[in-house]
Symmetry: C2
Subunit: 370 residues, 2 copies
Amino acid sequence: MAEFPFLIDATSGAARTGVLRTPRGDIRTPAFMPVGTAGTVKTLTTGQVKAAGADIILGNTYHLMLRPTPERLARLGGLHKFMGWDGPILTDSGGFQVMSLSKIRRINEEAVTFQSHIDGSRHLLSPERSIEIQADLIGADIVMQLDECVSWPAEEARAAEAMRLSARWAARCKTAFGDRDGQALFGIQQGSTIEALRKESSDRLTETGFDGYAIGGLAVGEGHEAMCAVLDYAPAMLPPDRPRYLMGVGKPIDIVEAVARGVDMFDCVLPTRSGRHGQAWTWDGPITLKSARFAEDESPLDPDSDCPASRDYSKAYLHHLVKAEEILGQVLLSWHNIAFYQALMAQIRAAIAEGRFEAWRAAFKARAVS
Amino acid sequence: MAEFPFLIDATSGAARTGVLRTPRGDIRTPAFMPVGTAGTVKTLTTGQVKAAGADIILGNTYHLMLRPTPERLARLGGLHKFMGWDGPILTDSGGFQVMSLSKIRRINEEAVTFQSHIDGSRHLLSPERSIEIQADLIGADIVMQLDECVSWPAEEARAAEAMRLSARWAARCKTAFGDRDGQALFGIQQGSTIEALRKESSDRLTETGFDGYAIGGLAVGEGHEAMCAVLDYAPAMLPPDRPRYLMGVGKPIDIVEAVARGVDMFDCVLPTRSGRHGQAWTWDGPITLKSARFAEDESPLDPDSDCPASRDYSKAYLHHLVKAEEILGQVLLSWHNIAFYQALMAQIRAAIAEGRFEAWRAAFKARAVS
């Protein structure tokens, strides 16, 4: 285990910055991973994603299972080659999206079975099959255990049951994963918003032992305050020498507050989804380009950015593209948002490294949340 | 007049290759102009269009009139600045799309009036207003006269009437255009598929005198053979020392045959429209990426291309993107098609320059038409 060296260069309270070394390249932490759902970070070329500053992207096992299918991906040489991304890729286990997207599913000790939301075809996902798909067929660099994520709010008994099933599945995933060169396996802490369950989950995962630890079951409707309350204790329950990954989070303010509480990695569809819906993230919060107030605004989204989408096009032009429903508007706003998220992470890393994270965080919150 | 030097370097029968010099850069001819309908070559950044090899793009006056409006464009510094394209831009006059897209229109000697297909608002387009919009407000490098393009088939009397109105409007456009530094005005030959009308149109335009001459009223349903029959005589009626532009054409085979008959410039939405509908143009003809036969085809569309979209992605990946209705599929296929059209023009230019155009044309037709 501990396949990938994780070097922490500096800390500020619970926050830390460093690098996770992988055979496909370094991941600077805290890191934001753009989501490449079905083999594409939506609307963007991998060249654009790389130019935006991303070190690693995420692939969704559920989507790739249905299309193009893991076996086809394997015959085509794996996901990296398929989509033209030579940096590291993390895949989720598929479990979360089975619960949120598929039509009919049944979960038992052995596995989850479900019907595709696309064509109704039947599929099975067990801990062993999830590892096979992610590690052998997709060829992910970072593989996630299969888990059960309960909806929110959850009764304690239900949350405990799902957490314990996830812990047993974690051990099966580790056995199935075995010893692999150049790939890492992360466990997932569950337990809803209940501290004792999070503790039990962490203890069981740590006993099994993983290359990294995710915090699952948040950003499912509990809201920013409740999430922060869990993050006040949940990251510290996990081994300090391994990366901590908060799944599916989030808005910039969520990320900043999670970093302050010891989280190292993030993923979220928000920047690309917002971009496709005409929204741009800025240091002053999100703006809706369709608004008439941008119709003759000649300023770009960020004149200081290295990203062409942020720097080279006026808000007036983006307003026009969104109003005219031009695809280029979706492309440029997705690209800008990914670049903005990467710029956010770069500022966070620099602030921690330079010992001024708390001041940076206060200034960020004063500016962006209002 | 003759604002832009047109230097013919080599000929092969009626075909010629050379360069049209503009203050914003050279246009290598024969040239294909990607269509940037409403301030965007659909789905593509201007950087991608330039990387595909385009020297000049086309803007549609009708679309820009409705959105963002010419006055707003002028306040924002013109179309080049607005969309981030520093090469030359040719704009059409708006007349053709008024006829094909707007809901209610009335045409008389003075002008055409119409209702927007977007919001029903009323607009007027006269020769003088068309020049003002294109030359003063949009800031086009090459401005087209306002003309009336009849549908096909047209009765001779109707075709003659429209051609003569177009000739009178051509003279009014020239007066309105006046003497301008750095911008050129093209007249448009009309006359449907009737040789005598094409001759009369050419004589009247030549008498007025333009910087270049377009052939209008083709590619409106008459088909490849009928179009070639007109091109057997129509280009030769126009001054040999000025560029000839066949509007709205077309498929690669149309372009090759028009070049062979003396045409220098082309525009068409086909490469971008095909791309958005999952079709790729190749040296062997168009292919539909959704077809199951590409599901595991690891070859790229063109391994020898400099365009990333043509060279760096397998057909299997493009098949997946099209099947999954991912926007990136539309982007990559549009980009490839624009690059393919530019590669086609580059091959045509090289073949003429090297005195082997007839052999190249025969080989192209043997390969692509089958």
